[in-house]
Symmetry: C2
Subunit: 337 residues, 2 copies
Amino acid sequence: MTRVPFAEMKQTIKTAFIKAGMPENKADTCAQIHTESSRDGVASHGLNRVERFVEYLLKGWVVADAEPSLVVNLGALETYNGNLGPGVLNALFAMNRATEMAAVNGIGMVGLQNTTHWMRGGAYGWQAADKGFIGICWTNTESCMPPWGAKSEAVGNNPFVMAVPRKKGHVVFDMAMSQYSYGKIWGLEGKNQRLPFPGGFDEEGKLTDNPDIISKTRRVVPIGYWKGAGFTIMLDLISALVSGGLCTAGIDQNGKGSCGGCSQVFIAIDPLKINTQEMIDHVLEITVAQLKQAVPAEEGNEIFFPGEQAAKKRKENTELGIPVDDAIWNKVKELAG
Amino acid sequence: MTRVPFAEMKQTIKTAFIKAGMPENKADTCAQIHTESSRDGVASHGLNRVERFVEYLLKGWVVADAEPSLVVNLGALETYNGNLGPGVLNALFAMNRATEMAAVNGIGMVGLQNTTHWMRGGAYGWQAADKGFIGICWTNTESCMPPWGAKSEAVGNNPFVMAVPRKKGHVVFDMAMSQYSYGKIWGLEGKNQRLPFPGGFDEEGKLTDNPDIISKTRRVVPIGYWKGAGFTIMLDLISALVSGGLCTAGIDQNGKGSCGGCSQVFIAIDPLKINTQEMIDHVLEITVAQLKQAVPAEEGNEIFFPGEQAAKKRKENTELGIPVDDAIWNKVKELAG
């Protein structure tokens, strides 16, 4: 396994983005976030997305120099048009505005319409927590999952993020609505391997843990079956209505690739407007202690809080370099060459 | 199956609550919500909870005449102390305040600390939607589920609700974090029946759909395995920090029964501050149409949006009477007698 130092990966990605037409400062920030995602163990939305992002820039599905513009200002709630700018930059802007409003009002909410793929949603949870705010955000997507009881795709696989700042390591949660991503399924395909738990349905509508079959049927199973299937509909509707933007059915008609013109919600809350620091520390530390004291299902199991393993991975990869898939890394170097 | 008219059920529950020490107007509202839950098909949090609620009143775990009191006012975010008053009344108050703030600011958020069991969370989603607001709310609970990788209970099974107002029938989503409730598991126990999907773990840590086994191990499976297990931790932390109240580990130490002294979050958003009514209708109707047009997995399947089946059940039970478990109905009549 090749490991690449953070600075080298970031510089390479940045050069690729500049070559694809991004202004230098925007390319720098996007490369930083892509590299951080790979560093934290989420290469699927980091290095491994560089090629597709470049393709979208070249097609004009992402507008390299577009900036978000204010649509509605209600004090603690603002909406912006992302103008199809880079999803990462629009999302960073939106979460930052939410924290600025929360610093004044205790809560700040931003609806962002007409934006593009935000890559790794967790990035904006870490962003809020690093600034000392509780962060909640989600996005809608194009259709890529069947609703409950159906076998054709009609709902999005909408990522949902929650983050709580903690002195000893933030608690950050980032999930999509399918049990497994297509990235995970495709990664195991054709290798005679199984998913740890059932991840989709076969042609007969039976649950299966066989990635080859799920890749063919495209019937990934939502988390909690009918529950995740319902949750994803709510995230879609609320992101469209809070931003004044497109819902999943609208994105499907938009024809600008994955998440092209999507809608997002960002919420920030300042816990120090409600609690003393001592109260906050107490809630966090008795919760973490209670998790750590739970009886392991199998001897030697450690019980983790959300975000704990990403932080461990971050430390390891910062020290040793970020692991890469050689073919993908060579492709990105080619794009930068 | 016995069916009871709405008015008769409500009057009986109301009388039982008054006999347990509730003021008449509070008993009326609580009885209305309990009866509505049974009418909508959620008897587990309606009629079937009357006996336990009366027990909590008599023990002083719920303070019959307590009112919520303001703790922090930040304009679009307020926090209240529920003073251990009836959870239903505190939650109705909190969602109403959230909608009042949203009517002014576009968004309103209420953190509610030191409250008691809110019964059916969906009630407050319907409440927001009936007033024309998007509603989001959740509560924490005492420990009743193992965290991921553990076999002892250390996290709550925290209900989460989202609602969107729709002219042709609101879209309302109400889920807890376990795949099945203990009510569902206990209802099938000892009857040689199976759950539709795996609902927990056996003694060896293998997934099982056998309710008898799960009832013994008390290892219910979270929705999406590690995903629901993480989500429930976030809901807990954020409800405690937004309300300045207890987290699950604190409720466990509180010793006032299920949800005694719990923390809740209520968010309301006014979609008409961001969209025209035409925009709202368009988003909702193309989404519902896309769901209805999905290819059924089995011939004859209808694809439902969240809340659609509750509305159907409501219509049926309003016309025919609300189905009851005879033993439970007789017990409630006894409490009212």
